[in-house]
């Protein structure tokens, strides 16, 4: 338990991940599913960012006023990429939703799986 208490950042991101996953699985509304997916994405990013936390760490930008220790720059670089990937997925999913609504007049999955 002590390990978990110290790693509360990881624990919080796991909880957020599962909340998002619940929305993706259990919600019928496609936009809601996508919001759940976005919550999951941000949760995973928070998890990876937490691997790079350094107590009292300064922003990893050299120059006047910067002081050791620096926060770990590598997870930051990874998550910059990750955020863009998340945006791309969301944009495509939302345009699919727009098309689905134009065609079937609904975005509730219960109504939609009947159309097939």
């Amino acid at each position: 338990m002590e390990g978990l208490w110290n790693n509360i950042d990881y624990a919080a991101s796991v909880v957020l991940f599962l909340i998002g996953l619940y929305a993706v699985i259990a919600k019928g509304n496609l936009v809601k599913k996508l919001m759940g997916l976005n919550v999951m994405e941000t949760a995973v990013f928070a998890f990876v960012m937490a691997t790079g936390i350094v107590t009292g760490g300064d922003a990893p930008i050299l120059g006047a006023g910067a002081h050791e220790p620096f926060a770990n720059p590598l997870p930051q670089a990874l998550i910059l990429t990750g955020i863009v990937v998340a945006l791309s997925t969301t944009a495509l999913a939302l345009s699919l939703i727009i098309r689905i609504y134009e065609r079937h007049g609904t975005i509730e999955s219960e109504d939609l799986w009947g159309v097939e």
């Binding site: 941000t42 960012m49 939703i97």
Partner: protein, 80 residues
């Protein structure tokens, strides 16, 4: 940054996430989602990651929310 403040931020994040799921009005849910992203952005800024915080504010809270809003305006606002 103190541990207590951490806990408050994470409690806020989790309650925002739950509210995104619970809210029936999609427009409200999208706005709560923006709040969620902004709190996350604050967390990262406090952890010495201004680059990621900036990106999350511009992309996660900004553009993603706009795309959600435009979708909601072209489809429907109510969730059943």
């Amino acid at each position: 940054m103190s541990r207590a403040f951490d806990l408050v931020l994470y409690a806020l994040l989790i309650s925002c996430a739950l509210m995104v799921i619970r809210t029936k009005d999609l427009l409200a849910a999208a706005i709560i989602f923006t709040t969620y992203s902004l709190i996350m952005c604050l967390v990262w800024q406090l952890r010495g990651s201004p680059d990621v915080a900036l990106t999350e504010a511009a992309v996660g809270a900004g553009v993603t929310s706009v795309l959600f809003l435009i979708t909601i305006s072209r489809t429907t606002r109510r969730e059943r």
